[in-house]
Symmetry: C2
Amino acid sequence: MTDTKTEIIRVATGLILEKGYNAFSYADIAKVLHIRNAAIHYHFPTKTSLVVAIMKNQQEGLKNLIKELKSKNKSEIEQIQALFDLYIGLLAQKQICALGSLGSDIQTLAPEAQIEVKNDYELVRNWLMEILEMGKITGVFKFQCDATIQASVIINNLIAGIIVARFNGFDKETFKHTMNLLLTEIT
Amino acid sequence: MTDTKTEIIRVATGLILEKGYNAFSYADIAKVLHIRNAAIHYHFPTKTSLVVAIMKNQQEGLKNLIKELKSKNKSEIEQIQALFDLYIGLLAQKQICALGSLGSDIQTLAPEAQIEVKNDYELVRNWLMEILEMGKITGVFKFQCDATIQASVIINNLIAGIIVARFNGFDKETFKHTMNLLLTEIT
DNA sequence: TTTCAAACTTATTTACTAGTAAGTACGTTA
DNA sequence: TAACGTACTTACTAGTAAATAAGTTTGAAA
């Protein structure tokens, strides 16, 4: 039997990435899972507690991906490509990323939820910085600026690239070309 | 006397850029302008008609800026800097741009509103492409890739850069550094 | 076999949402 | 001065939001 709490997080995450935090309701989740509205409140008393759980789950998922890639001794390029593939997968589901979706709604979130959005961002950025700095040492990458800024450019293109691609008819091609340009510019 | 219709657009635009499309109501506008809810419905029968008017207003504002910059014979660098300054101004008001805000809510907008978001994007991108191509001819810019992709990279960094800056304590510095990197990379 | 807690459901509350119907004040025009 | 349109207001509707209280089922432990 699938865990209801896990299922709620799964469905709610999809709704946030598709419609945004302020456009989905407990009723939307209840309808999909064939449970009552109050059942969701049993697991997540408030919408804030739900979005906090969702963001912690996102962070956990990312940490697991990083761990897996490292255990498989994936190269710097392969690790960045894995991040790109994550976004390509989202776009195929007509979704944007959590950072873009909750980032644009940040002013309507409770402080404890805002912190988790920021934590998720830090996680991605630190991972990317590590990859970039390691790649610079091994000679795979060459760039003269700070790795922080270089990482920012890549993340910015992921976050906004998927938003733009979605309102341009889910255009994967421009998104891919843009990300490839960024990658070739530093190799 | 200030025109109520114009004031509604002004206040509603601010609310969208600060909180997002699904987080503001006619009541919020009414409260600011000290008018009744129904007065807004008189000028804008539906929320869709309001957001369409807002986006057309954004497009008009941008067209006027472009016209002004060209009439003053501003250089390619100065024109791009004017676009950057627009974003710096938004960030100072704790706001993100219309493309980021409405782009992440696109799936919850009526088709006629979605089209206007896309139109606004096209306007910015075409302007940037023109600047980049002109700059390449005059020798101010040097880049080997397609101007379309180069323009995409700049826009993506504006859209996402301001979103990220806002949830990172309205950090102007990283945003400025990132945009400066992009500019120096092609000059 | 009783007890109890986990995981729900039913039913309800309070507050807010977009939208509408009907009436009014007011300046302009015929 | 009568008529009319613009720009509102008051009052309301139907629907939805998050959240809660109270009751029910169920399986496992004492």
